[in-house]
């Protein structure tokens, strides 16, 4: 019980520290911007550890962070194979195919008002088909290896990307479009020189949303059939084996990979859309 109380004391203490840091004089510096969320994360982990120990929860219910860390450290080769199988082969390729397909369709939709009015509502309906329902079907169609995972990810990523790219291509002002018209520009000149750059903030918004979807989609798809590697495979078999520390180690990998992927896209975004007010 004392450990549980200690957990809340820890919480109060670190939160106070964070408030001081955030509102203090260095509140705007990079270091503080990094330190505050890290301290918050450490607080959560610390509380978790203390509460698990305090309540003596069995490992098969919730392992303590220290156990997860130990398992993580001792299983790095397995985690790495799983990561490659799921993230690199499944998620990334699906992400690329889905985004590219969305891009091509967005151009079609952009060129034809008729298609826009037809495809977008139907597309939003198709996007509402739950992934957990489509995944088994896609596994049946595309086999057990990464291809079916890529297919699931492609489908998940496609619509958010389509919506964002379409919205982005509409983003230019009437004035900008008129401007380029007075120069007698062709559709493609207007597209490459004006509308695509203007759409970039939207496209990156879509990419960011899709980045988290992609990994989750690949993992979920593995629940419905996979080779004997992959993060989703490992999670589901480890649950069956009651190796909850392994499950959490994979979840940590997923969260890390997802956050880093997101962060990487945010970085590229900053580089590409340097001109956008939100980036200045």
């Amino acid at each position: 019980m004392t450990l549980v109380i200690a957990a809340f004391v820890l919480w109060a203490g670190l939160w106070y520290l964070n408030v001081q840091l955030a509102n203090g004089r260095g509140g705007d510096t990079r270091a503080v911007g990094l330190a505050v969320p890290v301290i918050f994360g450490l607080t959560l982990v610390g509380m978790w550890e203390l509460i698990v120990r305090g309540l003596e929860l069995p490992m098969v219910i919730l392992p303590a962070p220290s156990m997860i860390a130990a398992r993580f450290a001792s299983s790095i080769p397995t985690l790495w194979t799983d990561f490659v199988q799921t993230f690199v082969k499944g998620a990334l390729s699906g992400f690329a195919i889905g985004s590219l397909a969305a891009f091509l369709v967005a151009i079609l939709v952009d060129r034809s008002d008729f298609l826009r009015r037809g495809i977008l509502p139907v597309g939003s309906f198709v996007a509402a088909l739950p992934i957990v329902g489509t995944a088994p079907i896609l596994v049946m169609w595309y086999g057990f290896d990464w291809q079916s995972k890529a297919a699931v990810v492609t489908i998940m990523v496609f619509f958010p990307m389509l919506v964002n790219i379409t919205a982005g291509l509409q983003e230019t002002t009437q004035m900008q479009r008129d401007q380029i018209k007075t120069w007698a520009a062709s559709y493609w000149q207007g597209f490459w020189k004006l509308r695509l750059p203007a759409a970039m903030p939207f496209i990156f918004n879509g990419l960011k949303i899709s980045s988290t979807l992609a990994l989750i989609g690949a993992i979920v798809a593995e629940f419905f059939g996979s080779p004997i590697a992959g993060m989703g495979f490992r999670i589901s078999t480890s649950v069956g084996q009651l190796a909850l520390d392994m499950v959490w180690a994979e979840i940590v990998v997923a969260a890390l990979a997802g956050s880093l992927f997101y962060g990487a896209i945010a970085l590229v975004e900053r580089w590409v859309t340097f001109w956008h007010p939100s980036q200045r």
Binding site: T173, M175, Q176, D178, Q179, I180, K181, T182, W183, A184, A185, Q189, K193, L194, P197, A198, M200, T273, F274, W275, H276, P277, R280
Partner: protein, 260 residues
């Protein structure tokens, strides 16, 4: 000023079809603009100034009457790159540098790389922005941005410069300065300029011809040929001739104006 008609509008009508029914933006507009003219359009908000300029640039299709530019249809004139169009806001692309922005129409029109560079240099100088080519638009003040946008419209040497309230967003001092510069440029290049403004002094100071319009449906109520000399120092605005024209414009405006 030679008397070749560059823009000729005859009984121009334009009605927009909106959800609330038709809106007549222009009615029976007849106007002739000669080569080298500097024509200002002034009138209350919503009277159709922008619409008329857009018709000239073939951005809007008149629903009646005739309009020719350089003896051809506005559409054809646009294809022949007859226009440089400057909008109220500078409308520079934030992802391109100033030089990149000015280069843009040149790229589209297929000028060679070297010529692009040359022309950018030249127009930057023309608008007093040499050395700023590598900056991004948002690193410049509003006045500088507006000058860059004028430079862009000048870069490909169109005969006709159409400007829709280009200085509306700037403060008076900067505006005075740009007015002076614009006059000098016009004198140097002999371009034909169509210029929309809300400011009476600006219209009087710049123009050889002031077109006063009245609102809904937009009609031309007065066309004033300016007797002012081509050489116009800023001080000219304190002379009685100037004030008299200004007065006439104001009267014309007030006549057509219903508050709100």
């Amino acid at each position: 000023m030679t008397q070749v008609p560059v823009i000729e509008a005859k009984h121009l009508d334009l009605t927009f079809q909106t959800n609330d029914g038709p809106v007549q933006a222009l009615r029976d507009v007849t106007l002739e603009i000669s080569k080298g003219d500097f024509v200002s359009f002034i009138g209350p908000s919503g009277c159709g100034k922008t619409t008329f300029l857009r018709c000239i640039a073939a951005l809007e299709e008149p629903t009646g009457g005739q309009l020719t530019v350089n003896g051809m249809s506005p559409e054809a004139a646009r294809k022949a790159r007859a226009y440089g169009y400057v909008f109220q806001a500078a409308g520079l692309y934030p992802w391109r540098t100033i030089a990149g922005n000015i280069k843009l129409p040149l790229e589209i029109m297929g000028f060679s790389k070297t010529e692009q560079v040359e022309r950018v240099e030249k127009v930057l100088e023309l608008v007093d922005l040499s050395g700023f080519g590598k900056k991004f638009p948002w690193q410049l003040s509003g006045g500088m941005q507006q000058r860059a946008s004028i430079a862009r419209a000048l870069a490909f040497d169109a005969d006709i410069l159409l400007m829709d309230e280009p200085f509306g967003a700037l403060d008076e001092i900067v505006r005075d300065h740009l007015n002076e510069e614009l006059l000098k440029l016009w004198a140097r290049t002999e371009k034909t300029i169509g210029f929309v403004t809300h400011s009476i002094p600006e219209a009087v100071y710049l123009s050889t011809k002031i077109v006063v319009m009245s609102p809904r449906p937009g009609r031309i109520t007065d066309v004033i040929e300016s007797p002012l000399p081509k050489e116009r120092p800023l001080d000219i605005r304190d002379t009685p001739e100037f004030l008299e024209i200004a007065h006439r414009v104001r009267e014309g405006l007030r006549a057509g104006h219903a508050y709100d």
